[in-house]
């Protein structure tokens, strides 16, 4: 008995020693690892040391002179990142929980939730809360302050930018939701539904940059004397018209860029709405049929109102993505040919004109535009019970 109690107190003693050391170790791993990761030369240096240790001094020297192959150094960096980011963070949670576990019970209960919440909250404060405040202040103080930065938005070119964003918002959102709804309704009635859906759904996995390249190829223009290898111009000239430089021709170009977004987002709308349609009870549908509703009436007058909540969810989610649209415009036109949108203009202000005040003001405008849509989205999500 006595020896057992002794062993237990021994283990409690070691716990008291090991746990705080572990916690200090975890924090040290994160701090030192972070410093290592922040150092541009860190990985090559470490790799050179490793080469020295295994006796291959030539390679170590090559690396130190910056002429060696950096692939291994990069993989090493990635490995360290996983070790620090995942290992360090886990070790922190484990040891911090154990450390708190050694405190008095009621103090434990007070501190443990903060151990769980604090890492996430700290990152959010640094990367989202503080920047939001800082961006608003920048928009009010830099580059001539409020009047200049927000006043610039009423100039001719900027009004065109906002007009384009509005066209994007209406056409891209409306187009994706409408097509998604129709396709969900149509596909619901065929046997190979899952296969058919995959075709429409697939673009959702593709990056906006990749999609932009795909469609730039569809819109390729060659002078009339040359072969038209762009699909759109091939069809267009095939029907007898002269080829058009689609990307450089306003106002049609904005709509063609919007088509890229519709092509991507329709699959998303289809999936959500298709699930909603399948949730409509068979009794409701049978009853409508007995009352003599045509199939079209059944779809638009009975099913669509029932799945209204899902339609709002889809529309608001797409609308938020569309308001912030950047990649498509950046890759295809960089905002030229009268296709500019707010997010691209902001990027130009930051990295081409170096006017942070103007850029910040545009970010604030985006923020304000997203606000009501997001509010609608979250409120609707709650009443829908989606995401539960």
């Amino acid at each position: 008995m006595a020896s057992q109690a002794g062993a237990r107190s021994m283990s409690a003693m070691t716990r008291r020693l090991v746990v705080p050391l572990g916690l200090i170790g975890a924090i040290a791993i994160i701090v030192i690892g972070g410093a290592f990761l922040a150092d541009r030369e860190g990985a090559p240096k470490l790799l050179a040391i490793i080469y020295d240790l295994i006796g291959s001094h030539d390679r170590a020297d090559e690396l130190r002179q910056g002429i060696g192959d950096t692939t291994l150094a990069k993989l090493l960096l990635g490995g360290v990142a996983l070790l620090v980011g995942v290992g360090g963070v886990w070790l922190f949670y484990i040891t911090a929980s154990a450390f708190v576990g050694m405190m008095k019970p009621n103090r434990q209960a007070r501190i443990i939730p903060w151990v769980f919440v604090l890492p996430a909250v700290a990152l959010l404060v640094v990367f989202l809360v503080y920047p939001t405040v800082a961006t608003i202040i920048t928009s009010l103080t830099v580059d001539g302050g409020f009047a200049a930065n927000y006043g610039a938005m009423f100039s001719g070119p900027m009004i065109a930018v906002f007009r384009n964003n509005l066209i994007w918002l209406v056409v891209a959102t409306g187009g994706s939701v409408f097509l998604g709804l129709i396709i969900a309704g149509l596909f619901d009635r065929v046997r190979r539904e899952a296969l058919a859906k995959t075709f429409v759904f697939l673009p959702l996995a593709i990056s906006l940059v990749g999609a932009s390249v795909i469609w730039r190829f569809v819109y390729v223009w060659r002078p009339p004397s040359q072969p038209q290898y762009g699909l759109l111009n091939a069809v267009w000239t095939g029907v007898g018209f002269d080829p058009i430089n689609w990307i450089a021709t306003p106002p049609i170009n904005t709509y063609l860029l919007i088509l890229i977004m519709i092509w991507l987002q329709t699959g998303f709308a289809m999936v959500v709405l298709s699930a909603a349609i399948k949730g409509v009870s068979i009794e409701v549908i049978e009853a409508a049929r007995l009352d003599g509703a045509s199939e079209r009436q059944l779809f638009f007058r009975v099913i669509v109102p029932i799945i209204k909540g899902s339609i709002i969810t889809v529309a608001t989610t797409i609308a938020i993505a569309v308001l912030k649209i950047f990649d498509i415009v950046y890759v295809t036109t960089q905002g030229r040919y009268d296709t500019d949108v707010v997010a691209n203009r902001m990027f130009l202000e930051m990295f081409v004109f170096f006017r942070d005040g103007r850029a910040a003001a545009l970010a604030v405008v985006l923020f304000i535009a997203v606000l009501p849509v997001m509010f609608l989205n979250l409120r609707n999500l709650r009443t829908q019970g989606i995401g539960q």
């Binding site: 922040a38 996430a120 961006t135 065929v190 989606i386």
Partner: protein, 298 residues
């Protein structure tokens, strides 16, 4: 007739509308037409990426597709983009950036979501509301201040900078989704664990994590795709240096520098799509489940 047990009602009644009429030819034709139309652009890309550079600009890709035996096919374009055009490096960089940027936010979000859902502490309600409220903040609001912060810390153009940024930007949605899932777990589990004297950490490890695998997996897929496909964050915090380019930045640089070199662009675009398409095709079910749970980050 064999006796059948009383069938349980189907879980989700499938809507079938007048099958005889609606499986008619026009409907089938419309469905096939939609599928073909939707695939044409990608098809053009894939076909062209396998053609010789001079062929791509001489005839439309559909001529090669209609006459596959009479056309010259090649994999040279892929060798070119992986080698001299630098997409090989970009591929590696993208992997190095994306994997930690997926695992770290999920870890942090899972702990936080559990605390928000099942531990009572003062300030919980307000804090949770703020975290969810951050869903509203567009990434654009963070760019300028974080860029300045990074300039001071010399983090611009480092992988650490982009890992931290993606982790933080992914957290609100991750916490929101995982909270929705974890808070719906049966209360009895937690009560009996508390009676057994389990600590919160033990409860998290032994009950919450194993039960949350579907939600964690669904979010992981979306965060992975989001980071892999992201252009803006990579452009702002990593830049376009040949050493640190990711797939989307590398492709956008190619568009700028070799805008009419379609053999490079088509192969390059297809390479950037490989991983997302593989993820999508292999994990389609989890993908759909994730979408229905609201995982799409916008």
């Amino acid at each position: 007739m064999t006796a059948r047990p009383i069938a349980a009602p189907p879980l989700k009644p499938r809507v079938r509308w007048r099958p005889a009429l609606l499986r008619s030819a026009p409907l089938k034709a419309a469905v096939i037409l939609i599928c073909v139309l939707w695939s044409l652009p990608t098809m053009g890309l894939l076909v062209s990426s396998l053609r010789r550079p001079e062929d791509i600009t001489q005839t439309g890709w559909w001529t090669a597709l209609l006459n596959p035996l009479g056309s010259d096919w090649t994999l040279n374009n892929y060798a070119t983009v992986f080698g001299s055009e630098g997409l090989g490096t970009a591929f590696l960089n993208s992997l190095i950036v994306t994997i930690p940027s997926t695992i770290i936010p999920i870890t942090m979000a899972a702990f936080a979501a559990y605390a928000f859902a099942w531990i009572k502490f003062p300030g919980r309600g307000i804090l949770f509301t703020i975290v969810i409220g951050l869903l509203v903040v567009p990434i654009q609001m963070s760019l300028i201040p974080i860029l300045r912060l990074y300039a001071g810390l010399q983090l611009n153009g480092t992988f650490l900078g982009i890992w931290l940024a993606h982790t933080a930007f992914g957290l609100p949605l991750a916490i929101f989704l995982l909270y929705n899932f974890i808070s719906q777990l049966p209360k009895d589990l937690f009560e009996s664990a508390a009676i057994d004297g389990a600590t919160h950490f033990q409860v998290f490890m032994k009950i919450v994590l194993p039960l949350s695998v579907p939600a964690l997996g669904a979010f992981a897929i979306f965060q992975f795709l989001w980071v892999w496909n992201d252009l803006l964050v990579a452009l702002v915090f990593l830049g376009v240096g040949p050493d640190v380019r990711l797939m989307p930045t590398a492709l956008s640089v190619l568009v700028g520098s070799r805008g009419e070199a379609w053999h490079v662009l088509t192969a390059g675009a297809f390479v950037t799509m490989l991983v997302p398409l593989a993820v999508f095709l292999l994990l389609q079910r989890a993908f759909v489940r994730g979408i229905l749970a609201g995982s799409v980050k916008s």
